[in-house]
């Protein structure tokens, strides 16, 4: 009782702001993201027995990606079923 009944001041618990949601916008244009430097495309010289599927399998691990190689080399490949030894193909990044 009396003096001994005084409640001790407990430290105020810190509030939890972990679930605060924030956002923003501006009338000024946002800074365009800096494009990541792209690695230069590699090249591959066709050897006897090659096909676009085989090259795709070797380069990407997926033969079905032959079209990416074909699309990148349409200037030198007229028919995707016909590639010739010595042709230098651009191998786009996978």
């Amino acid at each position: 009782m009396g003096l001994f009944d005084k409640k001790k001041d407990k430290p105020k618990p810190k509030p939890d702001f972990g679930n605060v949601k924030s956002g923003g916008s501006s009338t000024a244009p946002a800074r365009p993201p800096v494009a990541a430097p792209t690695a230069p495309a590699r090249t591959y010289t066709v050897v006897k027995g090659d096909s676009l599927s085989k090259i795709a399998k070797r380069e990407y691990g997926d033969a079905n990606k032959w079209r990416a190689i074909y699309d990148a080399n349409k200037d030198i490949i007229k028919d995707p079923d016909l590639i010739y030894p010595g042709q230098v193909l651009t191998i786009p990044r996978g």
Partner: protein, 143 residues
């Protein structure tokens, strides 16, 4: 008299050089001035379409979304605006940054909300432009 004439001439030349240097320093100071500066900071509960505050306030309810609108002037290819919100004891409530490319006067807004309500107390929001303190606003949340 003849001896005084050169002294006067030297004095005039010194004055001219001094004025010239001051003008050059002023020019340098102008060219070193930051391209973007914060001209105004407002707090409120809602925004206008131009990102200005629709209703200025310094006291909020626990359920309010709190908006701060930062007016900037000038242009820059890249400027970062940061809003750091703190609770009364200095506890960080939130900090977010926007990178803008202003081409003239612009308004950038930041807002915070808390689904379970803001603790009652006093808060501070600091606005930093490119990492340097540009202004501070204080507000309270009352029941």
């Amino acid at each position: 008299m003849r001896r005084r004439a050169p002294a006067a001439l030297v004095l005039i030349l010194a004055l001219l050089v001094s004025v010239g240097c001051r003008r050059q320093q002023q020019g340098e100071a102008e060219s070193l001035a930051p391209a973007v500066s914060v001209s105004d900071i407002d707090l409120g509960r809602s925004l206008n379409p131009d990102r200005s505050i629709a209703d200025n306030a310094a006291s909020f309810k626990p359920s309010d979304t709190i908006y701060i609108s930062v007016a900037t002037e000038g242009s820059a290819s890249s400027a970062t605006l940061t809003a750091k919100w703190t609770y009364e004891d200095g506890q960080t409530v939130d900090q977010s940054t926007q990178t803008i490319s202003p081409t003239g006067p612009a308004r950038t807004e930041f807002h915070i909300s808390k689904p379970d309500g803001w603790p009652v107390g006093k808060y501070t929001v600091q606005v930093m432009l490119n990492g340097a303190l540009a202004g501070t606003k204080e507000f309270e949340v009352a029941p």
